[in-house]
């Protein structure tokens, strides 16, 4: 019964996908005309090509990533010994996270979370 059910699901799923794709194709308005393709700027036409580069700030993003990543790297072994060590481990981890949070706040102040 199980192989039959699986095959039925596959056939039904594929059939519905094919039907849906044919139907969606019928709804498609077709190729847009040149005025329809223009991005909306309030009635003005764009004058430059859409290929434009902006500074994605990989360096500051990498620093932020490291802040979070280091946190996780130390949290795994910490979680293993947490029950044995008790409150001392908790306090130590809080101190560590506080230092990392200061780093994140510094990156924030430096504009690492802004677009350009």
């Amino acid at each position: 019964m199980a192989p039959f059910g699986a095959a039925l699901a596959v056939v039904l799923g594929a059939g519905m996908a094919i039907l849906a794709s044919r139907w969606v194709h019928r709804l498609d308005p077709g190729v847009l005309s040149a005025p329809e393709r223009v991005p909306f700027q309030g009635g003005s036409a764009p004058e430059v090509h859409a290929w434009s580069r902006y500074h994605i700030r990989y360096y500051s993003m990498a620093l932020l990533f490291l802040a979070f990543d280091m946190e996780m790297v130390f949290m795994y072994p910490w979680a293993v010994v947490f029950v044995e060590e008790g409150v001392v481990a908790l306090v130590e981890m809080m101190m560590f996270i506080l230092i990392l949070v200061l780093g994140i706040l510094y990156a924030w102040r430096e504009g690492a979370l802004e677009w350009a």
Binding site: A34, A45, E47, V48, H55, A116
Partner: protein, 481 residues
């Protein structure tokens, strides 16, 4: 077919998505259209089914209106509403360009609903495109994969020049994108064209494009302004209470615009409803509203410190100058206001938040003056304190001097703050177009002080970027190694 008819009826009963365009004198009607239940005024033509044009379209707006019309997805329809004394017929140019244009009655919302239902039903044919299907920059790729040819930087891929480069915040040479917003950009006042150099969302340089409410010869198009009552007070006796009521109404309308910009549509519509039928008895409602908005923390945090006016003395009166601590107000020296206990409201910081608080304070003050003035008549002669600034014979209209502040205020701002700053100045391009002084001619020339790159059309209308406009190729020496 029962299913189809049912679906059509269901869709026709829903909200009618409308993209609205304010022509001459149509701004108030357009704004009140958004407050009507069953009509959804959308900010993008792709989301609209109907294009509603209110008032005559000046020649400078015709191209953008047609471009926006063609961006409405099919099925679409266009409606024209007359305003005031424009004869009830759209201009011949608009009627010729849009043969399917339906001429309606101003404010006839049920007509819009019927047209929408008719259009979904197939009774009203969809509007044909007004502009030809001509690609302004046809694909001109070269090489085995047609990837455009002369490099990724500074080339002309697909026939369009690429953005030039300039140092960014981190002093890296990156692309600076020239963009022209307007004249039908919904967050801006109707007719405002801003030419911006953007890097990411930072406005590096801004300049004001040519005023679309002027004719091609540069003369103002005749129109009725929203400050007509104040202009008339220059040489006719007017009730002081009428003037102050008009001032409060003006500030409330402005507040509704700003509230909508901040996403507070519900409160914006209530403010607009209050402004529409404002009477002397509404003083308490105005005070309550101004108190609520003045306490808004989210608006304060968005507006505080934005667009600080360094020298408010350069603006001749008006809330913008007084929000910067300049107590200039023509009513202080006006005999008709003597004994009413008038004292100009001022705020110290001169930023967008203080401009908001200034107008809130002036609206509440105007309502108090209405109560105290009784049937006192203002004698014509002395300059009038309009809701945007000083109005006097031979003086430039307040909007045109406020427009000149924009380039300095916008440079270095992020996009969202720039939109807030534009709104905080309460600009009216129709009023600015009435300026006859030669000083503004430089500011309204397209691209004045704006590093427009070669190959760009000088007029910005969709016609400007048609083939046939010569595009000088950018030298390939800027290519990256």
């Amino acid at each position: 077919m029962g299913l189809r008819a049912g679906l059509v009826r269901l869709a026709a009963g829903g909200e009618v998505p409308v993209f609205s365009v304010a022509g001459l004198g149509g701004r108030v009607v357009v704004e009140e259209l958004g407050a009507v239940p069953g009509i959804e005024v959308v900010d993008h033509p792709r989301a609209a089914a109907l294009l509603v044009v209110v008032g005559r379209v000046p020649p400078g707006l015709l191209g953008p209106v047609l471009a926006v019309h063609d961006q409405l997805p099919s099925p679409r329809a266009s409606v024209w509403w007359p305003v005031g004394a424009d004869g009830g017929v759209p201009g011949p140019a608009l009627a010729a360009a849009l043969p399917g244009l339906v001429v309606g009655r101003s404010g006839d919302v049920n007509g819009l609903r019927r047209l929408f239902a008719d259009m979904l039903d197939g009774g009203h044919p969809t509007d044909p495109a007004a502009l030809g299907d001509i690609d302004p920059a046809p694909w001109r790729g070269v090489g085995p994969y047609g990837h455009g040819g002369t490099g990724m930087t500074g080339g002309v891929p697909y026939g369009r020049p690429m953005a030039g480069r300039a140092p960014d915040r981190d002093r890296l040479e990156l692309d600076q994108l020239p963009l022209r917003f307007g004249p039908l950009f919904p967050p801006f006042p109707p007719g405002l064209v801003l030419e911006l150099l953007l890097q990411g969302d930072v406005v590096q340089q801004a300049s004001v494009g040519d005023n679309r409410f002027r004719t091609e010869a540069g003369t103002p198009v005749s129109t009725t302004l929203d400050t007509d009552l104040f202009l008339g007070a220059l040489d006719h006796p007017v009730l002081v209470s009428d003037l102050e009521l008009a001032r409060a109404r003006h500030h409330l309308r402005w507040l509704a615009r700003v509230l909508r910009l901040h996403g507070l549509s519900g409160r914006a519509w209530r403010t607009l409803a209050l402004a529409r039928c404002l009477t002397a008895a509404d003083a308490a409602a105005v005070t309550a509203l101004t108190r609520t908005v003045g306490r808004s923390r989210s608006m304060a945090s968005a507006l505080r410190g934005q667009g600080v006016l360094e020298d408010p003395g350069t603006v001749t009166g008006g809330p913008v100058a007084r929000a910067g601590g300049e107590p200039a107000d023509a009513r202080s020296g006006d005999d008709s206001y003597r004994g009413l206990g008038f004292e100009p409201v001022t705020h110290p910081a001169g930023d967008a938040w203080d401009r908001l608080r200034q107008r809130l304070g002036e609206a509440a003050q105007a309502m108090a003056l209405v109560e105290r003035a009784g049937d006192r008549v203002r004698a014509p002669g002395p300059p009038v304190e309009g809701p945007r600034g000083l109005i006097a014979a031979g003086l430039r209209p307040p909007s045109s001097s406020l427009l000149e502040l924009l380039p300095d205020l916008l440079a270095g701002q992020e996009w969202g703050d720039a939109v807030n700053i534009v709104a905080s100045l309460d600009l009216d391009l129709e009023e600015a177009a009435q300026d006859g002084s030669p000083g503004l001619a430089g500011a309204t020339t397209p691209g004045a002080g704006f590093a427009w790159r070669p190959g760009m059309s000088p007029d910005g209308g969709p016609q400007g970027s048609r083939p046939g406009v010569t595009r000088s190729p950018v030298a390939p020496t800027e290519n990256e190694p």
